[in-house]
C-alpha cells in the first residue's frame, strides 16, 4: 500500500470536518435562496446546529448559566448549579459510564469463562449448543423492557441489559478461539510434560486472546448501547435519561449534546481497549526478518 504523508491525511480529515460542520451550521440558511437544494432534514428544529449544541453543552454542564454568563468556580455558582440538577451532564455521564463498565466487565469475564469451558469440551458444547443458538437468536435489546421490569429502574437493570448484549459476543469469539487452537501447540506442550491445567494456562488462554480482543471493541460499544436502552426504558439518571427528557421538551440541542458526549465516551473507551490490545498482543506485530 502506498504510504501517505501524515499531514496530508490530517489535512483531509480537517477539511471533511469543516465541510460537514459548515453545512450543519449554515446549510439551512440557504433555504430561502435555494429551496430545491436544502432538504427539510437540515432544519435546526430536528438536528440543531453546532453553535446551539455548544451553547447547550455549556448550560447542561453548568459551565454557564442559562443566560450565557460563566458560572464562577470559586463563588459557588458552579456547585449550586450542579446541586440543583441531580442528573446534570457530569453526573449523567458518570452514572452511564459506571454501569457500562460493570456491564462490560461482567459480560467479558462470564463470556470468556463460558467460551473457554465449552470450547474445550466437546461434550458440554454438544449439550448446550441448541440452547445457545436459541437464546442467541433473540435480539437482546428486546429483553430490555423485561429486564427493567424485573430489576427496577435503578442501576442493576442497566448493568444486566449491558451484560446480556456483551456476554454472547465475547462468548462466541472465545468459543471459536478455543476451538481453533493449533493442535501443534497443545501437542508440543503436552510432549514437554504440561498438565491439562498448564496447557489451558500457557497455550489455550494466550492463543484465544486474539479472538477475545477482536470482540472487545464491539463489546464496549454494545455495553454502552445496553445501558442507554435500559435508561430509555426507565431510569432516573444517566445520559439516556437526558436524551428522553430533551426529546419530551422538543429540544434537539439537548439530545445532540448527549449524543456527542456518548460519541466521545465511545471513542475514549475504544482507545483504551485498543491500547490494551496493542500491549497484550504485541507478539503479533513483530514481522519479518525474512
Amino acid at each position: 500500500m502506498k504510504r501517505y504523508s501524515a499531514l496530508g491525511t490530517v489535512g483531509w480529515q480537517v477539511l471533511i470536518c469543516a465541510i460537514v460542520l459548515s453545512v450543519w451550521q449554515w446549510g439551512y440558511d440557504l433555504r430561502t435562496r435555494l429551496p430545491w437544494l436544502v432538504p427539510d432534514l437540515l432544519d435546526p428544529y430536528f438536528i440543531s446546529k453546532p453553535s446551539m449544541i455548544f451553547d447547550n453543552f455549556l448550560i447542561q454542564s453548568c459551565l454557564t448559566s442559562k443566560l450565557g454568563a460563566f458560572n464562577g468556580w470559586f463563588n459557588g455558582d458552579f456547585g449550586k448549579c450542579l446541586a440543583r440538577n441531580e442528573n446534570n451532564l457530569w453526573a449523567a455521564t458518570a452514572i452511564t459510564l459506571k454501569n457500562t463498565f460493570f456491564g462490560f466487565v461482567t459480560g467479558v469475564v462470564s463470556g470468556f469463562v463460558a467460551g473457554l469451558i465449552l470450547g474445550r469440551s466437546d461434550r458440554l458444547s454438544a449439550i448446550f449448543q441448541p440452547f445457545i443458538t436459541a437464546v442467541n437468536s433473540i435480539p437482546r435489546i428486546a429483553l430490555a423492557p423485561i429486564i427493567v421490569l424485573a430489576f427496577g429502574i435503578g442501576d442493576m437493570s442497566k448493568i444486566v441489559t449491558s451484560w446480556i448484549v456483551v456476554v454472547f459476543l465475547v462468548f462466541f469469539n472465545t468459543f471459536e478461539g478455543a476451538r481453533s487452537i493449533d493442535e501443534g501447540f497443545t501437542n508440543a506442550a503436552r510432549l514437554l510434560g504440561a498438565s491439562e491445567w498448564q496447557i489451558t494456562r500457557t497455550v489455550v488462554i494466550p492463543s484465544t486472546m486474539a479472538w477475545v480482543f477482536a470482540s472487545l471493541t464491539p463489546a464496549i460499544s454494545f455495553a454502552l448501547i445496553g445501558v442507554i436502552v435500559g435508561e430509555f426504558i426507565g431510569a432516573e439518571r444517566g445520559i439516556g435519561r437526558l436524551i428522553i427528557e430533551s426529546e419530551a421538551r422538543g429540544e434537539a440541542s439537548g439530545m445532540m449534546v448527549a449524543v456527542v458526549v456518548l460519541m466521545l465516551v465511545g471513542v475514549v473507551l475504544s482507545a483504551i481497549i485498543w491500547r490494551l490490545q496493542a500491549y497484550l498482543l504485541r507478539w503479533q506485530r513483530q514481522r519479518g526478518a525474512e
Binding site: G193, S207, R287
Partner: protein, 277 residues
C-alpha cells in the same frame, strides 16, 4: 558352549540395550467411509544412543509410526515399549523429546521464554532457568534474539529455537518428524552440523523421520526404509561412516556415493508406487 547357555533367553544386558521396541505396529484411519491402512505390521528395535532414520516417500506412514511412538496417535494394533515400558496413547512419556516438522514455537512467547518453557512447566526457579536458557541460546547461535518474538526470526532460526526448547529438558530419546523439511539446502546442512555436534556430546537415542536420503545418510547409523502405503518396512541399511561426521565432507566421500546409489534405487521404486497409489 553348554546347552544351558544357548537355550538361555535374551540376556538382560542385551534387552537393557534396547531403548525403543516397536512390535507389530499397525494403524488404519477411517476417512469418509473408506478405511485407509497407513501402517502395516511394523517391527523394529532401536539401541541406546543409536541414530535411526525412518526414510520413505510421503504417505509411507513413517510419521505415523513416529507419532505413535510419541503417544500422539493411538495404534490400531501392536505395541511400543520405551525402556521396557508400554507407551500409553495421549500420555507423554518422560525422557522423550519431540521436534515437529514445522516449528511449533509459541508466537506469544519470546524466543527465550519458548526455550525455557519445559523448565517452567517443571517449576525450575527463574534464576536457574535464565542460566540454562542463556546456554541454549548460545548453543543455537541465537544470541541477541532472546527477547524477540518468533515471528521476527527466519525459518532456520525458528527451527533451532524449537530444537533447543526440546533439548533443554535433556530428553534421552529424541523423536524428530522431518524437522528440517521446510528449510533450504544450506540452512538444512547447517542444522545437520548443529544436530550432529549435540548428538555426539549427549548421545541421545534418535528417531529421525525424513524423505531426504542425503539427510538420512549424513546423520544416521541406520536407515529403515518404508514402502509406499500401506507403510511397511521394506529394507534396513547400516550407515557406517566414521564418527564424528562432518555434514559437508561426508557427502564428498566415495562410500557415500555408493550407499546413496544403492538405497536410491530401492527408494525410487517406492516413490513411483506412491505416485500411482
Amino acid at each position: 558352549m553348554s546347552t544351558l547357555e544357548t537355550s538361555a533367553p535374551v540376556s538382560p544386558r542385551a534387552s537393557a540395550d534396547r531403548r525403543v521396541e516397536v512390535k507389530g505396529l499397525s494403524k488404519s484411519f477411517q476417512l469418509a467411509r473408506t478405511t485407509i491402512e497407513a501402517v502395516r505390521d511394523v517391527s523394529f528395535d532401536v539401541r541406546r544412543g543409536e541414530f535411526v532414520a525412518l526414510l520413505g516417500p510421503s504417505g509411507s506412514g513413517k510419521s505415523t509410526v513416529l507419532n505413535m511412538i510419541a503417544s500422539l496417535i493411538r495404534p490400531t494394533g501392536g505395541e511400543i515399549l520405551i525402556d521396557g515400558k508400554r507407551v500409553v496413547p495421549g500420555k507423554a512419556t518422560p525422557n522423550v523429546g519431540y521436534v515437529f516438522q514445522r516449528d511449533t514455537l509459541f508466537p506469544w512467547r519470546t524466543v527465550g521464554d519458548n526455550i525455557g518453557y519445559g523448565l517452567e512447566l517443571s517449576g525450575v526457579p527463574a534464576h536457574e532457568r535464565r542460566e540454562r536458557i542463556a546456554e541454549c541460546v548460545a548453543q543455537a547461535g541465537l544470541r541477541g534474539f532472546e527477547n524477540a518474538y518468533p515471528s521476527a526470526l527466519s525459518g532456520g532460526m525458528r527451527q533451532r529455537a524449537a530444537l533447543m526448547r526440546t533439548l533443554i529438558v535433556e530428553p534421552q530419546i529424541l523423536l524428530m518428524d522431518e524437522p528440517f523439511g521446510a528449510l533450504d539446502t544450506h540452512t538444512k546442512i547447517d542444522m545437520h552440523e548443529v544436530l550432529l555436534r549435540i548428538w555426539e556430546r549427549e548421545q541421545q537415542t534418535v528417531l529421525f523421520v525424513t524423505h531426504d536420503l542425503g539427510e538420512a545418510l549424513t546423520l544416521a547409523d541406520r536407515i529403515i526404509l518404508f514402502s509406499a502405503r500401506p507403510g511397511r518396512i521394506k529394507d534396513m541399511f547400516e550407515v557406517d561412516f566414521v564418527r564424528p561426521r562432518d555434514a559437508v565432507k561426508v557427502r564428498e566421500t566415495e562410500h557415500y556415493a555408493e550407499l546413496f546409489q544403492h538405497i536410491w534405487h530401492s527408494l525410487g521404486e517406492e516413490f513411483v508406487k506412491g505416485r500411482s497409489a
